[in-house]
Amino acid sequence: MTNSIGELEKDSRCIFVIGSNPTDNHPVIGMKIKKNVLYNGAKLIVADARYTDLASIADVYLPHLPGSDVALLNAMMNVIIAEGLADQAFIEENTEGYEEMAKVVSSYTPEYAETITGVPADDIRKAARLYAQSGPAAICYAMGLTQHSTGTDNVKSVCNLAMLTGNLGRPGTGVDPLRGQNNVQGACDMGGLPNVYTGYQAVTNEAARAKFEEAWQVKLPDQNGLTLTETINKAHHGDIKALFVLGENPMMSDPDLHHVEAALKHLDFLVVEDIFLTETAQLADVVLPGACFAEKDGTFSNTERRVQRVRKAASAPGQARPDWEILCDLATRMGYPMSYASSEEIFKEITSLTPSYAGMTYARLEGKGLQWPCPTIEHPGTPYLHKDGKFSRGKGAFSAIEYKPPFELPDEEYPIVLTTGRSLFHYHTGTMTRRCQALDEHVPEAKLEVHPELADKLSIIEGERVRLSTRRGSIEITAHVTERIVPNVVFMPFHFTEAAANWLTQSDLLDPVAKIPEYKVSAARIEKL
Amino acid sequence: MAQEYRIVLANAGKIDPASLDDYLNAGGYKSLEKVRTMSAKELIDLVRSSKLRGRGGAGFNAGMKWGFVPETAPETYVVCNLDEGEPGTYKDRTIVEADPHLLLEGMAICAHAIRSKQGYIYCRGEYPFVVDHLNRAIEQAKQSGQLGDFNIEVRMGGGAYVCGEETALIESIEGHRGEPRFKPPFPGVAGLWGKPTVVNNVETFANLPAIVKNGSEWFASIGSPNYPGTKVFTLTGDVVNRRPFEVPTNTTIRELIFDLGGGIPNGKAFKAVQIGGTSGAFIPEHLLDTPLDFDSMRDAGITLGTGAVFVMDETRDMVDVVTRIAKFFEHESCGKCNPCREGTFRSYELMKKIKTGQATPSDVENLSTLSKVMTKACLCGLGQAAPTPILTTLEHFSDDYKRRLLAAIS
């Protein structure tokens, strides 16, 4: 997030939620948005193929078809430019590339966008005016925007929209990706990515590499590594021979599980470190028992870049150990001695190598934590980025982006769009929540959301078991007939191993830049059983 | 011999209430025309100096109440309380049935003083015919342009007694549970939809045209000096003339019951009178010479209330009557504040215990303590006044209680 969660509760005068269902997926953020909208007069725009809880209180609801985000966003910008609602001063002072962007956007009239998105042109106009004219406006998005073949384009488009209206660098404005996992921000910040060290220092940058070589006293590879999805593909081809999986569950979370299963089985050696014998761990050669969050010290970084303490509350069961201890032990056995007295000592090493974390210490994290960048020990942390329109690269760059359709469009054989996501009552691959008695009792199975029109057409009734198929495979699932989804789209959560959505998703074609799979659009077919 | 003196009922029976022309011919809407030539401040000063005090029960100076509305408020409301939920009270209905335009004119005068464009009449749920009657009058007044740009809407209550309390009434108009708000802020500052609002009783509004017409000195000279004007009383119970009377406020209780009311029927002797509604005090013989003005009554430990006069003869047992009243409050407590929600329930429980001869003296003491706490600790007037019948009968008619306790012992 460029800005802070708290701003969504009071500072934002308009909130544009696109491809995100905070009430279910980021409930406490959802509460803050609702509070602002219902009691504090903030305007709300929701763009989603599902009629979410927030959609039900929105000033404008845009039920755009999955994968049509760029067309929708371009049309909103078209209206903003055409009606003179752009922030010219901000554009001139702080950005570049406006002309190219404006040229592309000029052909996306709301009427044209209506043919792509299915959203009435007037609603697009209304949304554009509301976003541009309400005062500080924030954009919240999540995987509904990013898990597309055009995920990178979609994100660039929301950045365009924010820059066009000067909605950056002030409280209540911003481009706010709501990140789905407790420490996904931290895993990225810590260099858990194939192209960067901590704090996004590129592995291909000589100076950065030299710094880490010096600190770690070892020669480091200078080429970008493989992303997760690429790794699976390479394992499938036999180029990756051994894989260490630390607390991940690709056998649930990754696209096209047939493909993942074949790839993992093709490995010479798979080691999985986890707290449960997950679907992935079952395929491992060696399984190492880790401690869960309640059993160790450390830090998590949340979606607003806030680094907060995690504290040990109880001992890990049996011989389970914190992951950091296991990693140290293993490195030492492989001839690279690693030894730390505590997680705090590791954190000190992190801050010494990571400018954005440099000013943090465990003592300073007590209480409210700190939001990076926090470069010095006196720095109070950074609640919002790009203050006064200052971008880290100098000027904010507009991107001229054309709409591209999703890879897999519905056709005669697979006439329906399948989109996937989460339920309020479960989390990601269900490893933890399926083992929480109350949560699993309350929501014990996946349900496929089907619009009544589609249900009628297929003669499906509420609670009926159906077969849902894509080109990758098929599963059996219970249908839930609801008007909360647009007619030709069906939705299912991916938490349930009994009916895992990712048997159906595809892994061949990814977003060319971010390598993200297109979970939100698969061509599918439903059959009665 | 005490006489009626009619201000708010001046047209009653003389004009056709369904006819706007009749009202106009009787001088109607002339006062409203007159106030339109006055500034808001002049009007408020006029009403303040007339010493007109609220006829709903609290007896607050009407002009002062209006004066609390901030002059700069862009949006204000005039609300007329026609909830009239007090058993035995039917004065507001009487006024409105006889002369609906008098109320509308009074509200419009108030609207001029607080620069309001919208008025509401909150009408008792049991008066559906009054709603029709008022809507017809509003339509006439609007059509003929008498009200100018002031709109009046009639809202109907759902039969909850507590909605006669001004803030609960406001909550009800807003569509919420009928529960009182804590004060401050008072409605004059933050009332209906958070905007400055004047809530007055029907009778208060109905006095305004005459005050504007005849001047504040004229009004201030009628009845008791501190609570001038007239008051409409509705007589019920063991009294010969069970009907409304409008009398100057220096009339005594005795005059009202015996001169105008014709005394106790069937040759029975007077025992008690409850004035002001269900939550009013029970008054014994020796206080009957108290004048019917707010301050004199208060000094005698009586609240004037809404003008209900409930007369009881010698055959009535106070425990029976008060048990019935306690049941009423147990039923009508909204449940918001602890002492009222639980207190009215326990009061009724203890009264039943006394009535059925199962109570000990400590139960009576318990009841008395609870009642005293309720009068001071409850959130709104309902809970504060609910114990009054218990406390006043314990004080003046303790024999009725003792008899029941003795029965328990023997």
Partner: protein, 354 residues
């Protein structure tokens, strides 16, 4: 600042304070039940009443503005008696089953009954309503036999969670907290966040997941960060005998900067996986398609040896590491350090995109 006299002492308070705030600022403790600094004021429990000279009524200090020159008594005989009556009235609708209550020792109502010496109620002639406790949801126990109608749950549901699932039903003594038509929470807009449990001053609302596992005085509360979504809510793990038995939350912004104590259903009720019998407790090595238990030394030696073999045979880029969006920063740091420095490849990634 304004000046007023409280309990014979002249004190100061900022203009615009309530009497309660003025008292708190000056170290005078006033009992409250319905008051909650984060919620809309109700002014309804009347426990915070005080006496003000020249005012006929007691003032509910939580809603009464402090005014210049007021002379206030907070603990006079009259006030103490009134509070005792109010507590007795509440005690008469409460089942007083403290011995078996999960909130025993952590109950504001119990504390006040103790402080004001309420051992039983003088108002108990069979008037207590008996409520059935049968909401089938697996998260929240709703026992209205312990409810004192402070309505904090209603306000928390409306103002913190904005779910608006519950409200007061019926009137007077018959009023109770209910969802529409007195149905089940499951059929209401309830999202089972448990904010109502958080604000409840009695044992009326408790966690079914924690029931019977530990009372406030038996548990340590360890402040930590939630393990689910990326919001980063602060929560407290309640620990008894080295075992997590529940989750509570800290409402101070200073300690709970993101959520001020608010949580969702997973954060508040989704902690028992920690104690799941399915937890891995020992390293496992697969032999002939079956796992067998192994010692750490054996397992780690095997992993080290196999990774080294692959690296030696196929080069470092034939190795890869999936680190995790769920483990700590420190562990992610070590995972990528291990991958880059020990395995010698940049093939490290996690499920950020999934």
């Amino acid at each position: 600042m304004i000046r007023l006299t409280i309990n014979g002492r002249e004190v100061e308070a900022p203009r615009g304070s309530t009497l309660l705030q003025a008292c708190q600022l000056n170290g005078i403790e006033i009992p409250t039940l319905c008051y909650d600094p984060d919620l809309r004021l109700a002014g309804s429990c009347r426990m915070c009443i005080v006496e003000c000279k020249n005012r006929p009524l007691f003032l509910a200090s939580c809603v009464a503005p402090a005014e210049e020159g007021m002379v206030i008594e907070t603990h006079s005989d009259q006030i103490m008696q009134a509070r005792r009556v109010i507590l007795e009235l509440l005690a008469a609708r409460h089942d007083f089953s403290c011995q078996t209550c999960d909130k025993n020792g952590d109950c504001t109502f119990q504390d006040y009954c103790y402080e004001y010496g309420i051992k039983e109620s003088s108002f108990e002639d069979g008037g207590r309503r008996i409520y059935t406790v049968d909401d089938p949801n697996p998260f929240l126990e709703r026992d209205y036999n312990k409810c004192i109608m402070c309505t904090r749950c209603v306000r928390a549901c409306e103002e913190i969670t904005v779910a608006r699932a519950i409200n007061v039903e019926n009137r007077g003594h018959h009023s109770k907290i209910a969802v529409a038509f007195d149905g089940y929470l499951e059929d209401s807009p309830c999202v089972f966040c448990g904010q109502c449990v958080m604000v409840c001053p009695t044992g009326a609302l408790t966690s079914k997941v924690s029931a019977g596992q530990g009372r406030a005085f038996e548990v340590d509360r360890v402040l930590t960060t939630c393990t689910y979504c990326g919001t980063g809510c602060t929560l407290e793990l309640n620990v008894k005998d080295d075992r997590v038995v529940g989750v509570s939350s800290n409402r101070e912004e200073e300690w709970s900067p993101v959520n001020k104590g608010a949580l969702c259903v997973k954060g508040r009720f989704g902690w028992d996986f920690i104690n799941s019998p399915d937890r891995l407790t020992t390293p496992l090595i697969k032999e002939n398609g079956e796992f067998r238990e192994a010692s750490w030394d054996e397992a780690l030696d095997l992993v080290a040896q196999r990774l080294q073999e692959v690296k030696d045979q196929h080069g470092p880029d034939s190795l890869a590491m999936f680190t995790s969006a769920r483990v700590t920063n420190e562990e992610n740091y070590l995972a990528q350090k291990f991958t880059r420095a020990v395995l010698g490849t940049n093939n490290v990634d996690h499920c950020a995109r999934l």
